[in-house]
Symmetry: D2
Subunit: 398 residues, 4 copies
């Protein structure tokens, strides 16, 4: 076919050399390391720590904070590559984007330097703490309180799901203002602050190399300057545009891995005297998967591109606050979660009884895929959000 001046299906990714390094890292450090159904070891794993050694950590941070200044659109393919190898490792490596985006957009310069400026260069992590057991999906009902006392914020409460919290450098905590229950705050809490306690690590269905923790705060004091500027719940919504997009992007990587697994398997199997690769029913399923992967990727890229464009505006923080949850990011997570689950379900039926054993990784990949629809807003919550924000107001409809 000769030289290809136009890269076609990957028009968004500028720094291809970077992506190549990600692929090399993933192939060397992650692939095959995963122990399906194995014990959950300490996090981050050595393989995840090696990410920093490869000069890849926190790639989305600006260079002055130790990152590579890469866009969210770039991140889609990076996360897809990482997830192809290990979705749990990928989740661990990118989820800091949520907190760091909130700090970048709504923190003071001093706070940024103090947090991102330290975490970034060291290849460290952050965690963002929103959900609580009682509140469920209604974040307006969260009970963790932040009280302004003598130039400090004092935090008390319990947060249910906090990925990376145990080994993060800092936590971004969404709390109700103890002095005004209608106001919420987002406060940066260094992990080593007295009163921060990691209560347990959740046992999860998949993603063995990611860690999600329950965390509590007991009379935990941080400087007032650690509060971000703006209404806490809305700041969280803005940040979720990044993490939801990249969670969606993990579905692409898992799906690509599953597709290749089907092909590898088919290469070794014969059906009625022919390679399974030549079977039309098999081909039809794989063709369908390719379509699904294509559509998933473009929705993630669209969401990322929209966020990147808004972030590049001079008034980005305000503009993003005015929009909150972007339709594109919400749709990306919903769609990739559903489409990915359908793809993984179909695939898990293609290996016969072997697909029910741990001899093949399909079972673990199926369980990994499940997380896309379950974290950071289930589909019922997101459908209602789209309805309220983008359907009811006629001017916001597509």
């Amino acid at each position: 076919m000769g030289p290809t001046p136009f890269t076609g299906p990957r028009p968004f990714l500028g720094p291809t050399p970077f992506l190549d390094r990600v692929r090399t890292y993933a192939a060397e450090e992650l692939t095959g390391v995963r122990d399906p159904f194995g014990s959950l070891g300490p996090l981050p794993t050595p393989a995840q720590r090696a990410f920093h050694a490869h000069g890849l950590a926190n790639w989305w941070l600006p260079e002055k904070h130790g990152g590579r200044g890469m866009s969210l659109a770039d991140s889609v393919d990076i996360v897809s590559e990482l997830s192809y190898a290990d979705a749990g490792a990928a989740f661990t490596l990118f989820i800091s984007v949520l907190g760091s985006t909130m700090v970048s957009l709504y923190g003071s310069e001093e706070l940024k330097d103090r947090t991102l400026g330290s975490t970034g260069p060291s290849g460290g992590f952050s965690a963002t703490l929103g959900s609580e057991r009682e509140a469920g999906s209604e974040l307006t009902r969260i009970a963790t309180r932040a009280a302004r006392r003598e130039g400090q914020f004092v935090l008390d409460g319990e947060k249910m799901f906090a990925t990376n919290a145990d080994f993060a450098d800092f936590l971004v905590v969404v709390a109700v203002n103890a002095d005004n229950p209608l106001e919420h705050l987002a406060v940066v809490v260094p992990r080593d602050t007295p009163g921060v306690r990691v209560d347990k690590r959740w046992k999860t269905l998949g993603l063995p190399s990611a860690g999600t923790y329950q965390v509590s705060f007991d009379n935990c004091r941080v400087p007032e300057a650690n509060a971000l500027h703006g209404p806490g719940l809305l700041l969280l919504e803005v940040g979720l545009n990044t993490s939801r997009t990249l969670i969606a992007a993990t579905a692409i990587g898992i799906a690509r891995r599953i597709r290749d697994l089907c092909l590898e398997y088919a290469r070794t199997r014969r059906l009625r005297g022919e390679s399974l690769l030549a079977n039309p029913v098999f081909g039809s399923k794989l063709g369908h998967m390719e379509m699904q992967i294509e559509v998933m990727r473009h929705q993630c890229l669209a969401a990322a591109t929209e966020f990147d464009a808004l972030s590049a505006l001079p008034e980005a923080p305000d503009e993003l606050l005015a929009r909150g949850a972007l339709r594109s990011a919400v749709a990306a997570k919903m769609f990739c979660g559903q489409s990915g689950w359908q793809l993984a379900s179909t695939a898990s039926e293609m290996f016969g009884g072997l697909g029910y054993t741990t001899e093949l990784p399909i079972g673990g990949l199926l369980q990994d895929m499940r997380y896309v629809s379950l974290v950071e807003g289930g589909d019922d919550v997101l459908r209602e959000l789209l309805y309220r924000r983008y359907v009811i107001p006629s001017r916001r409809r597509l």
Copy 2:
């Protein structure tokens, strides 16, 4: 509503007292014992052994062989109850029906007395061995050989998936006739026959309380009288009508358990100031599940009733051989596998992030449900079977 002379939705189940005993057993011995994601212990578990102590074991065998003489239609609800508590336990307890049906229909009286007459009263198990690694779903390609030598059959080969094989009293092995590669035999092999080796227990995605093994035969000799009468592959097909129907029935039990789990969860959750039970979206999903459970059950009952009716004919063995795989049984497994998976997938999205943890049993139930579509013929195989047997010949179409 007053006294109910007609039981309505359960018209098929005669011995309700028996079903009550099953429920009591399940509640006392199985529920809650299950350890999701736990280690796989020795089988059968004490809870499964207790089944015999409750006088319930091998309920489908005739009384003279220590069973209760119950029909396959009765068995549908029995298996549903067992699976409600633990689908792996249920699978262990009913899967002997496959081998014992083959022996009952196609074994000599002497063989029946020697096998069923011993296993039945002791509450023992049997296993049926068809699939092989190379052959995949094409059983005509199996390579395990049975050679007729001096009044004996000598078996050599390896069988991939054999549930219960480790602790079964006898194995029903489908093999190619060493003297005629176009003929297949089904041969009863006592578990303790020299040369029978259990190579390993498969690690599976779900059903921790069931055991599926890889088994090999090395110069393994049994009396000629241990061969069943008739072509081995077709005898297996006949027997699969029972096990496919009951595998399908496990989906009913798992689905009912999932439905109740959703209701229990909803009872404790509030959404916008109301119980989640009052939420129309929740109600809509639960109403849909009830419809699915209803349809699953009726298809299983229809398949079981057809098999029971055919089995009651004077010429049952020939009649069943002439039919082979029944459309009703094949459809039951396909449909319940799909509908059950859809139900379990939907449910797993109803618990928010908690649904991705092991705090709730939904993850384990989802993995249990998966087996229905994967064992004893994947959907691609079954669709092709239906096409070839029931669509192409116009007189067999519905």
Copy 3:
């Protein structure tokens, strides 16, 4: 295969000779007569009138009322055969079952003789009028009033959808009691009663040989004895068990016709040098359809069998009132509507561009299929009904 003493997949249908007559009638009078997208002619069509000439009309009525005393279970396959030929004709021919069931169960002997005793022998029709424009699916909000005045009921109001109403002998009208807005009545109104006006025939997407009308009542007087015994809305619910089951059964017939159409088409097409019949993707789809048809039929039979069993009880009217909408009948309509639509959608994609033309009947069959989910309660309404009646009360759950 030799003589088949057991009919297997059709265990419920006793009078096979009757079904043969139905098939003969359908082949002679209905098949091919249908004019897809054609003009809607006067109803009932000559072909539909011929049903009576063949001695088949109102087959479910007792012999003393001119019927054949056949069960609802028998009716499932009868309706399937009729719908195979023309679902609109089938709908016209069976929908009287709704009103006649209500009259049979809850009318006085005198009323039965006066209505069924006259309509039955003449091969006539009845119509049942529940829905109103404003009330939508909430029948408690219907506004048609029945006022008890001087030994008569005076009816006023407008009914939205009334199939067969134009040419029916009598109408069963559900109305609110003018003297007690919390009470509803079901009143039999002869079609020729002064004040009954057929306002229009609805133009519908499919079923060109069925007629659904808007009907109004203006000071329309009938004897007090024309009221059925019992609460009107609940009597309607009881009756709907029959019509919902048979509407579901039309999906079986349409689906069988579609399947055969796919096979006829495939017989004439070649793909890569082979008959399309030999293509695995085609076979896979047809095998799937056969499974769907099988499951649809068994759910309809289960619903019909439950209704038949309840109807055979000495206290049938009370027993049925105590149960109202049966889970089995509701599930049959929901399931067959959905599964049939999926089957028809898949099929419509199998003919290439030709499937978008009227050269093939698939377009008309797709439109016919759509009615199953849309009439007598949409799925949202039915899901909520199942939730409220069969999920919330734990003792009614499966």
Copy 4:
């Protein structure tokens, strides 16, 4: 929310004023004109002719050929707007893009001036003729022959589906080379060439304002210079990237219209004392639709953007030939056809029985939507295409 410097979800569409004119045109000329299930009148309709009067016709042609030089990415939203009003009108107005793209890329300058240079300024149409009855989806089997005779091509044969052919200025005909049955040609045939005969207009399920014709060629002679440069089947494949993308885009418009129809309907309905708009089940469905519309649109935009980028390359014709059918365009049509059908099916169930009548336009919209999956390659064909082209060659996989 104040002024919005960034248009967010529509980043691709430059000339918003143009889109506004399209909307105005659609609102004035198309909306409401459509007569569902009405008679099929002469084409193009006056409303379609008015498109030219509004200065909008053939917008994708370069200005020197009377167009507006707009990109395929621009066209996605234009077609969405047109289809919102009337998908059949939209199809008529854009489908010339297929033939004109083939001519633009692979015709001589002289041929372009002679065809596009005349059709463009007059607001005329072209048609592209590939499919044949016998060949079905296997275009290698087409039988229409083009014989090179004395400086001319002589065409003989019959083409099955040719949209716009009756009133087009010129036809692009794909034929087998009479002198080399392994070679195919794409030849431009002026509509008024002697020997061109429109045999009939197909009656179609939907799109009443579009016309698809069967056309035959009998000793039909055109100058040799009318042949495009390159292998005919591959040139067609290249062109189909444009039309498949825009057919997919009609699904967006139809879907948006359906969504708005649901909202209009809900505004007038009450359920349990509240507006249907406040019902959570309704909201959930509409939120889901919004997600689907979003994803459909981004896949269309991605496909269009890829084609635009390739077209902008200096070696565009060769580059496009080397790629043939683009994954993005194939995926767009498959995905939008499926997702749109699912959306339309769900919607058609939201109006109760009214949804089965012609009082609401939903039935017609459902039928319109169906065409997306059926024309220019059914899903089975496209899945196999993706498998062969983009899955089997590992370097082309995503």
